[in-house]
Amino acid sequence: MTTTLEKAAPVAAKHRPVPSSLKVTQARVVRSEWIKFRSLRSTVITMAAGAIAVIGLGLLSAAFASGTISSPDGGGGPPGGNDPTGISLSGVMLAQLIIGSLGVMMTSGEYTTGMIRSSLAAVPKRLPVLWGKAIVFAGVTFVVMLAATLVAFLGGQAILSGAGVASASLGDTGVLRAIAGSALNLTGVGLMGIALGALLRSTAGAISTLFGIVLILPGLLQLLPSSWNANIGPYLPSNAIESFTTVQAEAGSTMLSSGAGLAVFAAWVVVLLAGAAVLLKRRDA
């Protein structure tokens, strides 16, 4: 049967004739993924929690560093070291966990609920679904997290300078790069989560793998001979991220340049997404 035949067939009052241009396109799938994204309360709450973590912890760290508030026993330095930009962006670490989990749930949630079968039946070419999720997630996350890191930076510096402690301004070398880099960092970690969720199809498995790669791998590397550590270490996602999110590199650091670090981090994201794409296309849903 063709569409022309269908128009000729008797159609009950409940059924409207099918308009001619109803092709599935990447743009339409992006729109569909946007509806999916905004219509889950958990996504919206998690995204807000990520922003609150960036801003709240950033301001709190600034308050600690400025001496405005201090821990009861008076011990311990402020989080973020002595770099005023780093201090105000210290909430990004926690936000990585939150946004990374959100990325995982974007895909693993479809597998655990069975939704994936509806999604892939509607878009049987499959890849547009993965790209659609990545585009929507990356767009929303980058915008929201850029706003959050900006607010955290400006608020944090206001607290620091108000207390007469060393502070930074947006025009200082490397500051804008650190702010935008932090938003890119969160976006990229979330995209790694999307890929791992699609690869492993399990929320718990994908979240622990993601945290393992981002948080635990650098620690494990310390156990290896130091020459290995020096050669491999800079290419781990966490260290690559550090290269473009910090203003002042520590003395004697083996860190990559910020450009190379960004490229290495992007490569991690791309490789994981490519792996997810290959398996999504090949495996049974």
């Binding site: 569909s32 069975g114 509806s118």
Partner: protein, 308 residues
């Protein structure tokens, strides 16, 4: 039109679907029958491209499902009641499905009304009963006004009113010239709804027949006779080709004779008959007979055996 050609699917060392060949035609409801584990769902998943065949081919309206530019206008499928994110409302689920191919919000509202989910459309699908989940799945299947409708066990979990609604819906969809392919493990349900049957067991095709043919082949020659002189009648009719059973006093189940023959001979012998009725084996019995060797999971309890 669905064309299944030499279709096989292997999971590990288990052949779930084994060289299936059949065609599902437009304009009628075709029932897809088989015991649990026969391969019905796997076959349906391969039709809409969710599973890849190990070998063989399946096309819908002449093309592979994934090659259609607007797939959900070609095929609407209900494969599992809950292929829905539990945290999303029914309305938003349908809206997201509709957006992939540019279907309007009005159409979303139409299918919500069509399946009777208006009152709960804005509620989270995770809180839906099985029956409501089925209705949402059917709304999803009808969203694209498809030419081919595939429903896997649609009456599961529906109340009697819902079952009747499905029956009428399927017939009206077929009446509009659509291809309607419905799986079930209940022969009686299919006998009421379908015109044609495809029966599989252990992944293999067992029968590809019209319901009328199946019903005719299912009817046995048994005749139930009630008579105050049952013993005399039994002696009168006894023959090598005739088997007579009696489950209660004055009641005979006779196989091998026509009702008219029994009545005439009883009259000539002066035996009074209080009942003379031809019996048909139930369709369910005929179906069980047909698929007996192909049942994947036999009940092993003795009480189950006694119940037969």
């Amino acid at each position: 039109m669905i064309t299944v050609a030499n279709l096989s699917k292997r999971y590990g060392d288990k052949l779930a679907v084994d060289s299936l060949d059949f065609t599902v035609r437009p304009g009628i409801v075709t029932g897809f029958l088989g015991p649990n584990g026969a391969g019905k769902s796997t076959t349906m998943r391969m039709i809409v491209g969710l599973d890849n065949p190990t070998s063989g081919d399946v096309t819908v309206n002449g093309s592979h499902y994934a090659e259609h530019k607007a797939p959900i206008h070609q095929v609407g499928a209900l494969l599992e009641a809950k292929a829905v994110h539990t945290g999303r409302s029914a309305y938003n689920h349908l809206l997201a499905m509709a957006a992939t191919t540019g279907i309007s919000k009005q159409r979303v509202d139409e299918v919500i009304d069509l399946v009777g989910l208006r009152e709960v459309a804005k509620k989270r699908a995770g809180g839906f009963s099985l029956g409501m989940g089925q209705r949402l799945g059917i709304a999803s299947a009808l969203l694209g006004d498809p030419e081919v409708v595939i429903l896997d066990e649609p009456v599961n979990g529906l109340d009697p009113e819902g079952v009747l609604w499905i029956r009428n819906l399927l017939r009206s969809l077929a009446g509009e010239g659509r291809t309607v392919f419905v799986s079930s493990h209940l022969m009686s349900e299919m006998a009421l709804t379908a015109e044609h049957l495809i029966v599989i067991g252990r992944g293999r095709l067992i029968a590809d027949v019209s319901v009328a043919e199946f019903t005719a082949s299912a009817s046995s020659k048994s005749v139930r006779v009630r008579s105050p002189q049952a013993t005399e009648l039994r002696d009168l009719l006894a023959d090598d080709n005739v088997s007579i059973a009696s489950s209660e006093r004055g009641l005979l189940e006779i196989t091998g004779l026509e009702p008219a023959d029994i009545g005439d001979r009883a009259l000539r012998a002066g035996i009074a008959l209080h009942e003379l009725s031809p019996q048909q084996a139930s369709l369910e019995e005929a179906f069980m007979e047909l698929t007996r060797d192909a049942v994947e999971y036999h009940a092993t309890t003795t009480s189950g055996a006694d119940a037969r």
